[in-house]
């Protein structure tokens, strides 16, 4: 005689059975690689030294990265790039969204054109900007030379003083459409009556923005900032294609560090330690921002 399960119990088991494939899939493609990487960061694993094999070395890899100038340079550049790009995207995204939220002729076309940088693949974007920045043949420099502002083209992405600024410009250009789209969607969800009521009460446009628009978009802004921060912090392809981390490490970031340590130096243990550090930073950042938004909401 079989065991009779209660209806509640049967529903629980059915639920578990239905979500099991998804859980297994996520465990296989997300949790396992992350856990394996975190685990690897405590081991010595260098393909160029196969005779040493894989050895548990505790926190030695972390000690090594913290005394490495390249790591600190990468961290500094990553923070600068992320902060500048996210601030630029959010500020410009807000301006563009507010502008394109107002009715005017040709708005649809301009909205569509604004999305183009987002749909362009990163490598195409990188090559477009390498061309635009080219010291001899790039349109930016040709204009500058033609107008007499400079005698020779400026090597925007290949001299230390301008490289990071140029990379930030490209990141803002690439990320702006997504930010603008999300903020525009948020703006369109704000009831028009609120603005009409504010106008009746004599609120200036700035006051309307400060006391209606911004509070209404607060949650969306938090999401935009958190996601763009994570994406920019982790981004590899655009900066790799634009500068490769150069000149002389002026634009090297932590993801480039992870790549070169793993696939050029073949030191997988050390590379895993840098990756683990990044995971902790991004997780911490996300938790802090989400907590702040919760506090704001509750108050």
């Amino acid at each position: 005689m079989g065991v009779r399960l209660s209806l509640r119990r049967r529903e629980q088991l059915l639920g578990l059975a239905l979500i099991a494939p998804t859980v297994i899939f996520i465990a296989a493609v997300v949790i396992y690689p992350v856990a394996a990487t975190l685990g690897l960061s405590f081991f010595s694993e260098n393909l160029l030294r196969p005779e040493r094999g894989t050895q548990f070395i505790g926190i030695d890899n972390f000690a090594r990265i913290f005394r490495d100038d390249l790591f600190w340079m990468g961290l500094k550049n990553t923070v600068v790039l992320t902060a500048a790009a996210v601030v630029g995207e959010v500020v410009l995204g807000m301006i563009v969204a507010l502008t394109l939220n107002a009715p005017f002729r040709g708005r649809g076309v301009i909205r569509t054109l604004n999305i183009l940088p987002w749909v362009v693949p990163s490598f195409v974007a990188a090559f477009i900007w390498i061309w635009l920045f080219h010291p001899q043949f790039g349109p930016i420099n040709q204009f500058l030379v033609w107008s007499g502002i400079v005698d020779q083209g400026i090597p925007w992405i290949s001299q230390g003083s301008t490289a990071m600024g140029s990379v930030i410009v490209v990141y803002i250009w690439k990320g702006l459409p997504w930010t603008f789209l999300v903020l525009l969607a948020g703006l369109q969800s704000i009831p028009e009556e609120w603005y009409e009521a504010a106008k009746v009460d004599g609120a200036s446009p700035w006051q309307q923005f400060r006391y209606i628009t911004l509070p209404s978009l607060r949650y969306i802004l938090v999401i935009v900032i958190v996601l763009r921060t994570i994406w920019t912090f982790n981004n590899f392809d655009l900066v790799y294609l634009l500068t490769g981390g150069g000149p002389a490490r002026a634009t090297v970031t932590l993801p480039l560090n992870v790549y070169s340590t793993a696939f050029l130096q073949y030191d997988f243990g050390l590379s895993a330690a840098i990756a683990a550090f990044m995971v902790v930073v991004v997780l911490g950042l996300s938790i802090v921002v989400l907590k702040l938004s919760r506090i704001e909401t509750e108050t």
């Binding site: 390498i130 001899q136 020779q152 490769g244 000149p247 490490r249 050029l264 130096q265």
Partner: protein, 507 residues
């Protein structure tokens, strides 16, 4: 046969058969059956009558009789030679069949080969070369093209997983690294089988780790100094012989932003500028004993020279690679640039007969005898090969003069041969495709005798450390800082400190 029916045509035919036979027999030296005929031909040749007497219609009768005798003898000999040649041809066919039959009797083994050639011509020529040599070794080579940046990780992963191919392409720095990691096998026995003194000393040294060769130099692409001869002529400049000449001439031709004295570049994955300039100052990363040698006066000298070159180069040195340099040079933006001999392909195809306006010299030395980057590709047998004996046979066939030369004439234009017999012969240089660029490629061969791979005279001693130095862009960043207006001494100190840290971390 009489004089009347001995037409000039028949005489020439007979003579050509005789001459051809002599040549054929010369090629068959060692074959005992040919010996007697050789003697008779020599006898005939000594009795030969001057041609002007033979072809003159007023020749006296006794001379005609003499000629008739000689010609009769020649024809007889020719017929006999023809028989021998026919017999030899038959024998050769038999031998070929026997060889083929032997090869057929031996089981044909399939060996695997990873290279990174992507040019259609290079791939096709290499596959034909491997197939031709493979018939002698009863080997079928299964080639897998792996993009250059992916080859090293793939090889290292294959070592870790025990799935190495039988043979692989490398360049000196990877050859040393892979030798140290026991990925490629020592090949001194293969060198012995191929024969002594087949290769130049420098290319051979570049395959060695601790005095043992781990590869066969396959072809060279040394970096040489290209310069615009037409600009030199216009400005009354002499061919450059020293770095002082090059610097002064570059400065004389520098007229920015339309034209620059030099084109320097730093963006390539490998620090080619460092590898080109440091050997000229006898500067290297490690001493013979593996200790750090980077912080030398020689390295500082190379940085100061680079600083001078940057001042007469287009802006954005750190953003330019060798490809950009070639394009700029082809478009007349600069008067000088260092590039590999394979740039010959682009020059040969350039419009306006640019090739005739471009000269090339081996890069000059400043301290010591070395100079320039010794680009080369190496063939290795891996430690994972399942067929080491067949691989040795294959390699011996690959570097057989005829087989190698046949491949080399048909492959990528601008590569320079490593086999000395091909370098010193005329067939390769006189071949239709090579002849127009022969002077450039010859300069490359000359350069390869003084160039060092990876700018590292003793790099092989610290093989994997040198790889780390390159991967962390230590040399490239050192030169980039100078290109960005940095102090050469400070850049050198930073780089030296980093190399010392790499050594310390490696334990």
């Amino acid at each position: 046969m009489t004089w009347k029916n001995l037409s000039r045509r028949r005489l020439l035919t007979a003579a050509s058969v005789g001459a051809g036979s002599v040549a054929a027999m010369a090629a068959l030296v060692g074959c005992g059956e040919v010996q007697t005929v050789t003697e008779r031909v020599v006898e005939v040749v000594t009795k030969e009558v001057p041609v002007e007497r033979v072809v003159t219609r007023e020749v006296v009768k006794e001379v005609a009789v003499e000629v008739e005798k000689v010609v009769t003898q020649q024809v007889e000999v020719a017929v006999e030679v023809e028989k021998v040649v026919e017999k030899t041809v038959v024998e050769e066919r038999v031998v070929t069949k026997v060889v083929q039959a032997e090869a057929m009797q031996r089981k044909i083994e399939t060996v695997t080969f990873w290279d990174f050639e992507t040019r259609a011509l290079g791939v096709a020529a290499q596959e034909a070369w491997l197939a031709r040599a493979g018939t002698h070794a009863a080997v079928r080579v299964e080639r897998l093209g792996v993009p250059f940046p992916e080859l090293e990780p793939k090889v290292l992963a294959a070592k870790a997983s025990g799935t190495l191919p039988d043979m692989v392409w490398s360049q000196p720095d990877s050859c040393w690294t892979w030798a140290a990691a026991e990925i490629v096998a020592p090949l001194d026995d293969v060198h012995a089988a191929i024969g002594a003194n087949k290769f130049g000393n420098n290319p051979l040294e570049a395959t060695k780790l601790d005095g043992v060769s781990y590869g066969i130099p396959q072809f060279l692409w040394p970096h040489i100094m290209y310069y615009r001869m037409d600009k030199y002529e216009e400005n009354g400049l002499d061919e450059p012989k020293t770095w002082i000449d090059l610097g002064e001439n570059g400065a004389a031709l520098n007229n920015p932003p339309d034209h620059y004295g030099f084109f320097t570049y730093l963006k390539d994955a490998h620090p080619k500028l460092a590898w080109n300039l440091m050997p000229a100052f006898d500067a290297y990363v490690f001493e013979r004993d593996g200790s750090v040698a980077l912080g030398s006066q020689g390295t500082l000298g190379s940085l100061l020279l680079a600083q001078g070159l940057f001042s007469i180069s287009p802006p954005g040195v750190a953003g330019n690679d060798e490809g950009a340099g070639r394009t700029a040079f082809l478009n007349g933006l600069a008067s000088h640039m260092t590039s590999s001999t394979s740039f010959s392909t682009g020059l040969a195809a350039a419009p306006d007969d640019l090739l005739s306006k471009v000269g090339a010299v081996a890069q000059p030395s400043v301290i010591g005898d070395a100079a320039g980057l010794a680009g080369m590709n190496i063939l290795n047998i891996t430690t994972g090969s399942k067929h080491p004996d067949r691989m040795m046979e294959l390699f011996v066939s690959l570097f057989d003069h005829e087989i190698y030369q046949g491949w080399f004439i048909s492959t990528v234009l601008g590569w320079a041969p490593t086999l000395r017999s091909v370098q010193e012969g005329t067939d390769y240089w006189e071949s239709a495709r090579v002849k127009p660029v022969a002077r450039l490629v010859r300069t490359g061969v000359e350069a390869s005798n003084k160039a060092w791979p990876s700018g590292a005279k003793y790099g092989s001693e610290g093989a994997s450390l040198l790889g780390t130095v390159t991967a962390r862009n230590v040399l490239k960043d050192m030169f980039t800082k100078v290109s960005d207006g940095g102090d050469p001494q400070a850049a050198l100190e930073d780089a030296t400190a980093e190399v010392e840290r790499i050594v310390a971390d490696a334990g």
